[in-house]
């Protein structure tokens, strides 16, 4: 985590020791975080991990029970949402059903007292930016899910927030649309140079979009870092299992596979399946194992196997590898450096 600390400039968002509980449930349980200006920051975690509450604390919908929150150096705890320079794109978009698309986008300008013609012009520009130019007169109910998403985005961006918060923004879209919006969001963020903080439970989304990812579990951040660092070197058992999938090894098992004598993770796609008689790569540890299950997953075939010592391993091999059956004995190669220590586990 220290290797990827935020730059020294005033962070766009800073959380220090933030706690928020609902009754006996500690939804956010001591979160420290610094998000750099212009960063695309993902908060990743399963439902109930505190990521959404964290976002709501930054937005001002919740107030912390303890701790400190700053937005560009200004203390914001105690301030209501309408006094904060952040805007939110809601999961269900929260478009006003009684207003037209144009009036929805212009809402933030209207409450700031900007005149009709000026705000119509700005709203039109914002809609054009999200590729919905000319849709001003429609009602939200007449739009598709993807279009509503864009309106929500335009409505939040038109008031020029310092930080844009996105709560599971792509959760309600179908796969194709989601991929399209991912690259579009990323493009918008780069073009505007804005700080984006977005909450998701989809690890693929977090890895592909974010500059840095914070993995949440049980109200705490368990790991922060660039997507590659989080995926390649998961700090805990939880991160290893939640961000992608992994073989989790105890100290003795990892030593047997050529790793250090401490808890380690081993990504399935690192394990190679050797053809009979073929040599393994240099420095790789070779093990014989009996296949227990094979499942075809499109790009890869997932092979579960058990060594004679009783260690269960899962390998993801190219889908073209055919002829593997449950019950067969295979040779697996674990390359050097594939077994990675988990810093947060003892």
């Amino acid at each position: 985590m220290h290797a990827h600390a935020a730059p020294l400039a005033t962070p766009a968002v800073r959380l220090a020791g933030v706690v928020r509980h609902f009754g006996a449930v500690r939804a956010v349980d001591g979160v420290d975080l610094a998000i750099a200006p212009g960063e695309f920051f993902a908060m990743l975690g399963p439902s109930g991990s505190g990521k959404t509450t964290c976002l709501r604390l930054i937005a001002g919908f919740e107030q912390p029970d303890a701790g400190h929150i700053e937005i560009f150096g200004d203390t914001v705890e105690g301030l209501p949402p309408y006094r904060r320079a952040v805007n939110t794109v809601f999961q269900d978009y929260a478009l006003f059903p009684h207003l037209s698309v144009g009036d929805n986008v212009a809402y933030g300008l209207r409450v700031r007292g900007i005149g009709r013609s000026e705000r119509d012009r700005l709203a039109g520009e914002a809609l054009a930016m999200v590729k919905l130019g000319g849709m001003e007169a429609r009602r939200p109910a007449q739009l598709s899910g993807g279009q509503r998403q864009r309106v929500a985005l335009a409505r939040a961006l038109v008031v020029r927030p310092k930080v844009l918060l996105l709560d599971e923004p792509l959760g309600a879209l179908d796969l194709k649309l989601r991929e399209e919006m991912q690259s579009e969001l990323k493009g918008l963020q780069r073009a505007l140079g804005l700080t984006f903080v977005f909450v998701t439970h989809d690890q693929g989304e977090a890895l592909s979009m974010a500059d840095r990812v914070a993995v949440f579990n049980e109200g705490r951040i368990v790991q922060v870092g660039p997507p590659e660092a989080v995926y390649e070197r998961p700090a805990t058992r939880f991160v290893a299992g939640f961000v992608g999938s992994a073989n989790v090894l105890d100290a003795r098992q990892s030593q047997a596979l050529g790793g250090p004598a401490r808890p380690c993770s081993l990504r399935p796609e690192k394990i190679l399946l050797l053809a009979p008689g073929a040599p393994g790569p240099d420095g790789a540890v070779l093990v014989a194992a009996e296949v227990t299950e094979v499942s075809y997953q499109g790009p890869v075939r997932r092979v579960s196997a058990r060594t004679s010592e009783g260690l269960a391993l899962t390998a993801a091999v190219p889908a073209g590898t055919t002829g593997i059956m449950a019950g067969a004995t295979v040779r697996l190669a674990v390359p050097k450096d594939a077994v990675r220590p988990m810093e947060g586990e003892e």
Partner: protein, 315 residues
């Protein structure tokens, strides 16, 4: 796997089962069968007799013999515009508007609290408190209010204790809304109506507010609207269909009532009383029918205006 291999007996055959097959296949037949009895009742018994009655307004009454002249004429309808009759119409609409506005103002905060803040237990108590007055007799409530409003009644006594006796006197000294005592003034009449019809306003407003997603209120605040602005620009417009639904109840119930004005209020007539006396003692069915047209036209106008102002946009 015993589940897969076990033989279950076939469902029993019977008259009902054989009957339900065609009904399931022909869904429209079922709808028709279910709708015919209520439609007959509504169409023939209710609407039919209403139209027959209203149609009487094109007849007139013979001034000397008091019998109905069955020849179409606009004379009876035009009689509504005679000052004495026109006053009755205006007075009733004025009272109904005042009651409706007072109901809306009192009901909104109550409904808002129940919809947004009350927990399940408080909400149950709220429903009970709102509905309970509807379980007791209308007449008991009206006579109860007569006592409360009387010169020596609880309201006057309480005002005296609070040192507001002078203010009450000053209010009663005002023209139109005043009178010798609250129980014989328009003020008293409006208060009683407001009490009687308040549940009919609270419930639809509460239902409308309950349907306003909390996220919309958060989004408005997020975009920079202060709570007052959020109320004016988001909550109120979205609750408007509920307010209009409540207003339809309070307005039309007041328009047609003829008992409260008889027990509480001045000697001046309202629409309900006019119809009651005309069709009864006076035997002037045509004019009674003409008067009965007024509330229907007023409600039609009310709904048109409500629709024009966008009250139903959020539906």
């Amino acid at each position: 796997m015993s589940l897969a291999t076990r033989d279950l007996p076939a469902p029993r055959e019977g008259v009902m089962r054989r009957l339900s097959d065609p009904l399931v296949r022909h869904g429209r037949l079922l709808t028709l069968l279910l709708l015919v009895p209520p439609l007959l009742w509504l169409g023939l018994v209710y609407l039919g007799s209403l139209f027959v009655f209203l149609a009487q307004s094109v007849f007139s009454i013979d001034e000397f013999s008091g019998t109905i002249v069955r020849e179409p004429t606009t004379a009876t309808l035009l009689e509504l515009f005679r000052p004495a009759n026109y006053d009755i119409v205006l007075r009733t609409i004025g009272i109904s508007s005042a009651v409706t506005m007072l109901c809306a103002v009192i009901a909104f905060p109550i409904a808002y609290y129940a919809a947004r803040y009350a927990g399940p237990k408080v909400k149950a108590a709220f429903y009970l408190a709102v509905m309970m007055p509807l379980w007791s007799s209308y007449l008991v409530k009206v006579y109860g209010w007569k006592l409360l409003l009387a010169k020596e009644g609880a309201i006057g006594w309480f005002a005296g204790k609070l040192g507001l006796g002078g203010a009450l006197e000053a209010w009663l000294a005002l023209p139109l809304v005043g009178g010798p005592s609250l129980s014989v003034s328009y003020t008293g009449m409006v208060l009683t109506f407001t009490y009687l019809w308040l549940p009919f306003m609270i419930l639809p407003v509460q239902a409308a507010l309950e349907r306003v997603p909390p996220h919309l209120i958060e989004a408005a605040g997020d975009l920079g609207a202060s709570p007052g602005l959020v109320f004016r620009t988001v909550i109120l417009p979205l609750a408007m269909p509920g307010v209009v639904a409540g207003a339809i109840f309070t307005f039309s119930l007041t328009l047609g009532d003829y008992i409260v004005p008889q027990i509480i209020g001045t000697s001046a007539l309202v629409l309900g009383q006019a119809v009651y006396t005309l069709q009864g003692t006076a035997g002037n069915i045509p004019l009674a029918a003409a008067f009965s047209l007024v509330p229907i036209l007023v409600m039609a106008l009310f709904l048109t205006v409500a629709k024009r102002t966008g009250a139903f946009d959020a539906l």
